[in-house]
Amino acid sequence: MQKVFGRPQGLTDLPFHYCPGCTHGIVHRLVGEVLEELDIIGDTIGVAPVGCAGFSLDFFACDFVGAAHGRAQAVATGIKRALPDKIVFTYQGDGDIAAIGTAHAIHVAARGEKITTIMVNNAVFGMTGGQMAPTTIGGQVTTTSPYGRDCALVGAPIDLPKTVATLNGAVYVAACAVDTPKNILQAKKCIKKAFQVQQRGLGYALVSVLSTCPTNWGLSPVDCLKWLQENMMPVYEMGELKMTEEVKAL
């Protein structure tokens, strides 16, 4: 029988440990496909965060390093400065990059560090059981905002890509989602571009991907996609937020 569909070479054959309906699997696949299509699996070092993607270092086929919570971009900086000719990327959740790792998220962009960051935003701390993240939407119920996020009390969610886009060293910033086939294809284009930016040594590239968390949101996978569209998309600026002329010419 002819094999018509399989895993991209950028992924190992280990089964994902993610919850059913979680979109981490889709994002993993997109990154795996991009690594394969750009033929950089053997030249890439990934950095895993702390959180649900803490075990992503087993799922990607390239070399991988596990970082402390929020420190992935500092670790990636060390790797890239040591091996400037290699491809270095971080794969981080919103809790990791936009809370405890914010200082690094800002400064890695300010320095124009030639790395790629994939930020997966599901509006909660997933691994610890669905606590409020800096990205939690106003009114959203989590275990640490049981009456809904009160923005008057704890502030409004942070739109990290928008903030990062203001920094000169960030040459490509995109905010995508993996809620529909169309958006999944668009997300892949953005992820691919973010790696191509690094291949050309143009500067820092960040792709944020709005993602779902059926387990902690307490919704079915299909309802999660609807919730993402109705609640997250209006809050987070979507699309290619920043592209320098050099990136446009890619």
Binding site: G42, I45, V65, A74, R81
Partner: protein
């Protein structure tokens, strides 16, 4: 070989360059700032890079990343900054990554002050970060040793795949002394066949310390502990000074070890059989130096803290002889005379000061 007059911190920087350190990630803090300044000036000329991190946390994690590639890398700080590096040190120990970390101690706790101190002894030797780990801690006592130990620290880090801390103090870091710029020893070191750098032509590698299976967690800890036990057995180092026939021993490291030396000579001039044990490795603590106490009637430790190393001395001595402690804190230094007086006081000796 000719000597150069250098600040202690500069000697550390120069040694790092000559040891083949290619990356330095740091953040300025008194009294260690000259290290990042010196390297910012000279490391690029030697083909390396200095990157000033947004904070100490970033700097130690940049070191972590660089070390995964097998590149020689260093960071330096002083006490409050060293506190911020503890998370990273725990991760370095667990991932078994070679990094050299300099802590030029200043006065604490809190923001403290800029004077010399040895109050980070516990933090350096007992694992200042979480989880129970060990790291080599070297205690230089003069400019030449700042240079020599920094050279050696890179080899030790590579040999044992471990963070190595140089524990100095503001006095040593700031003082100018003649330093002989020796060439690094051509040590035979294990191949770095564990680094990441792209898996083209070989199997994928990963460097991490995460295990959610308790059986795996225990096995990992047993593996680390076996390495630390091996290091404890082979790496203990100290200097003995008139200790062979001593009736009273002073134990002091770093700056205190240096002051204690002249105290020993002054005591000997008065006919008192005083000797010195100067720990060079603070971890592993030189327990072997206290194996045979011969005719020792008592021990006095001298420290720039309220008595931290004294606990390790007591553990090594196991109540075979009384152990006292003389302490100065807040940036103050003990004088030869006051150490002599303390010896006389605690051991009932007639001393002239």
């Amino acid at each position: 070989m000719s000597k150069e007059l250098m600040k202690g911190n500069e000697a550390i920087g120069e040694a790092a360059i000559r040891a083949g350190c290619k990356l330095f990630f740091g953040y300025p803090i008194t009294p260690s700032t000259e290290i990042v300044e010196y390297l910012a000036k000279y490391l690029p000329k030697a083909g390396g890079t200095v990157l000033q991190g947004e904070d100490e946390v970033a700097s130690i994690n940049m070191c972590y990343g660089a070390a995964t590639t097998g590149t020689r890398v260093m960071t330096a700080s002083s006490s409050p900054g060293f506190s911020l590096k503890q998370e990273g040190l725990s991760f370095l120990a667990a991932a078994e990554l070679p990094v050299v970390i300099v802590n030029v101690n200043r006065v604490g706790p809190g923001l403290g002050g800029l004077g010399p101190s040895q109050a980070d002894y516990f933090q350096c030797t007992k694992g200042g970060g979480h989880g129970g780990y060990r790291q080599i801690v070297l205690a230089p006592s003069k400019g030449q040793e700042l240079y020599d130990f920094t050279l050696e620290a890179f080899d030790l880090a590579d040999r044992y795949r471990t963070p190595v801390v140089i524990m100095a103090d503001g006095f040593l870091g700031q003082m100018m002394e003649p330093v002989e710029l020796k060439k690094p020893a051509q040590a035979e070191l294990p191949a770095k066949d564990w680094t990441v750098g792209g898996c083209r032509g070989r199997a994928k590698r990963k460097i991490a310390s995460y295990a959610l299976t308790n059986e795996v967690g225990e096995a990992n800890n047993l593996h680390w502990q076996a390495k630390w036990a091996r290091m404890q057995d082979t790496l203990q180092r100290w200097e003995s000074f008139h200790a062979e026939d001593a009736e009273y021993l002073i134990v002091g490291f770093g700056t205190c070890g240096r002051i204690a030396k002249s105290t020993v000579l002054a005591a000997r001039r008065q006919g008192l059989k005083v000797g010195l044990i100067r720990p060079i490795t603070l971890w592993p603590f030189p327990v072997k130096a206290f194996a045979d106490l011969g005719g020792v009637k008592g021990i006095l430790t001298v420290e720039l803290n309220f008595g931290q190393m004294v606990e390790d001395v007591k553990l090594a001595v196991e109540c075979r002889t009384p152990v006292f402690s003389h302490n100065r804190v807040g940036g103050m230094m003990p004088s030869e005379g006051e150490i002599l007086r303390k010896l006389g006081q605690v051991f009932g000796l007639a001393v002239e000061v």
